[in-house]
């Protein structure tokens, strides 16, 4: 807190109150001309929309509850706030491990469907209602058996111990074609789709849009799911003495009974642990995660950080959550959830602005367009199955 800042704040306030002396005005103008960011501070104050937003935020912090929290910590002799605050997330959060995809080719030994066919399945279709509005994702997925046969699912399902898939107490799919220990189903959740399923051990798995997994058709000593790409959230039950493994292209997560999120992409994988314990494995390197932490594979090690449960579990809570995200990152989420293609103008990508916001995602696309326009000040338009983002 240096002297210059204090003076500038005072001068700014005086400027607003029309009380600036000439010399103070000079100081203000020279500060303004120093950088674009400085000018922006004043511009935001002079813009009624941003001012209104800022005033609302300024008044949104609950002082009473905050002091009660601090006071109770003082009483208990605690010196760390965070663990307590994140307790409320333990109730909702599970460990979500995000595993990013593994090389496709490696896993398609048995599949008679070619890779391009499978990835086009993942593209999905844009959903519309009767008025033509673009709708958010619905429950659904495509299950591909080891013989290449596809089954379309539109409901959550249960994976039984004998490898059959069932819902509504009616067995519908069985994979008897291969007795191979390695045989699996490929589960493709296209864009604009989402699905949950349960396993014979009581574990529950949520799969986000635009994800591909392999789930076992035989129950082996170890329960293993391969996350080829995309994102899953798991609540894993303890089952006899078997471990639960989530495998990705970039590493492995070993679960010791817990709730976690995994997101996987070509480059990396990130695991967020809500409750319980997991072990991250990559070749010789292992890392155990404690609750409320995330592990990211980087530079030949697992980097462990405090979890941002709000952000990492947002999808499972059916919410879009952007915390200082670039427009491209936001665009990816929208593409996955609605199946539309987002085109961001080159000028917009160039300016490197980041945005924050939170909203439910079980809404038609036009609601998201409105929110995006509001938080970014950009011009967003829907054209057929495309979303365009440009400067105003």
């Amino acid at each position: 807190m240096n002297q210059e800042e204090t003076n500038l704040s005072k001068i700014l306030a005086k400027y607003l109150n029309n009380e600036c002396s000439d010399s103070e005005l000079k100081i203000l103008h020279s500060w303004l001309s120093e950088s674009k960011e400085n000018q922006k501070v004043l511009d935001d104050l002079m813009n009624s929309k941003t001012l209104e937003g800022d005033l609302i935020i300024y008044n949104s912090f609950n002082k009473q509850a905050a002091w009660e929290n601090i006071a109770s910590h003082i009483e208990k002799g605690k010196s760390n706030i965070f663990k307590i605050n994140y307790m409320r997330f333990l109730l909702a959060a599970s460990v979500v491990i995000v595993l990013f995809s593994v090389s496709f080719l490696y896993y398609f030994k048995y599949n008679t469907l070619s890779e391009p066919e499978l990835s086009s399945l993942a593209e999905g279709k844009v959903l519309r209602n009767v008025s033509g509005e673009i709708l958010p994702a619905t429950t659904g997925a495509i299950l591909v058996k080891s013989n290449g046969e596809q089954v379309t699912l539109d409901h959550s399902f249960v994976l039984n111990e004998d490898g059959s898939i069932a819902f509504d107490e009616e067995n519908i799919v069985e994979d008897k074609d291969y007795d191979d220990e390695e045989s699996f189903y490929e589960l493709i959740v296209p864009k604009a789709k989402i699905i949950q399923f349960a396993m014979f051990d009581g574990s529950k798995i949520w799969v986000n849009a635009n994800s591909r997994l392999q789930i076992p058709t035989k129950s082996n000593a170890d329960r293993k799911i391969k996350l080829l790409s995309g994102e899953i959230y798991l609540e894993v039950a303890k089952y006899k003495n078997s471990k639960f493994l989530v495998e990705t292209q970039n590493g492995l997560v070993e679960v010791l009974g817990t709730k976690f999120n995994v997101i996987s992409s070509a480059k990396s994988f990130k695991t967020t642990l809500v409750e319980g314990k997991v072990k991250l494995v990559k070749e010789q390197i292992e890392q155990i995660l404690e609750p409320n932490t995330s592990g990211l594979w980087r530079n030949n090690e697992f980097v462990v950080t405090r979890a941002n449960l709000n952000a990492d579990l947002a999808w499972k809570n059916n919410v879009f959550y952007f915390n200082n995200y670039s427009i491209n990152r936001i665009a990816n989420q929208i593409e996955d959830w609605y199946g539309v293609k987002v085109h961001v103008d080159a000028d917009v990508s160039k300016n490197k602005n980041t945005y924050s916001g939170e909203m439910r995602r079980d809404v038609p696309l036009k609601e998201v367009k409105k929110m995006l326009e509001f938080i970014s000040g950009l011009h967003v338009s829907i054209e057929g199955e495309n979303l365009n983002v440009e400067n105003k």
Partner: protein, 176 residues
């Protein structure tokens, strides 16, 4: 005065500003409040080692929050590089100086609202801070919509008399 009481005094003075400051840099309410609350906890534990001076307390609190944010940001930067499809885009630049300036400026503007005559102020707060519509305010306070309009106009005139004419235009839009 007990330490807790002294800390509470500082809390009443600075909590809101600190939260807004942190929020400006983080974009996340919960994280912002966490960091700020921790700063106050630290103030409590270290209270006896700090020079009993207003500016020193203020400086301590802001430095505490700043450090928490810096630590978090260092780790978040690592993540975002690997999360993005284009690796080098998302480096968020932390502008602590401007966050500070912005915080104090908003605090000033907020004070302005607090200086409004009380009937006006109540309506202002309900409209802008609680986000109620004129209709909702009318039924909540049991007054006519006309009264609301009158009060808003009064607020306008009051602010106009206090403000830089250029800045007043901003408020004009706010008050529509």
């Amino acid at each position: 005065m007990s330490t807790a009481k002294s800390v509470k005094q500082e809390f009443d003075k600075h909590y809101q500003n600190l939260c807004f400051f942190a929020y400006t840099l983080l974009g996340d309410h919960i994280m912002a409040e966490d960091f700020v609350q921790e700063a106050f906890l630290t103030l409590f534990t270290k209270f006896d080692t700090i020079t009993p001076n207003e500016n020193v307390y203020k400086s301590f609190l802001y430095t505490s929050v700043k450090n928490s944010i810096l630590n978090w940001h260092r780790r978040a930067k690592v993540e975002s590089k690997y999360h993005e499809l284009t690796p080098f885009e998302d480096i968020v630049y932390l502008d602590f100086d401007n966050a500070m300036i912005k915080t104090e400026a908003i605090a000033e503007v907020n004070k302005l609202i607090s200086n409004l005559p009380s009937a006006c102020q109540q309506i202002f707060r309900l409209y802008y801070l609680d986000g109620l519509s004129s209709k909702e305010i009318a039924s909540k306070l049991n007054i006519s919509i006309n009264t609301i309009k009158t009060q808003k106009l009064r607020g306008l005139k009051y602010i106009q008399s206090k403000l830089n004419p250029e800045y007043f235009l901003v408020f004009l839009f706010l008050l529509k």
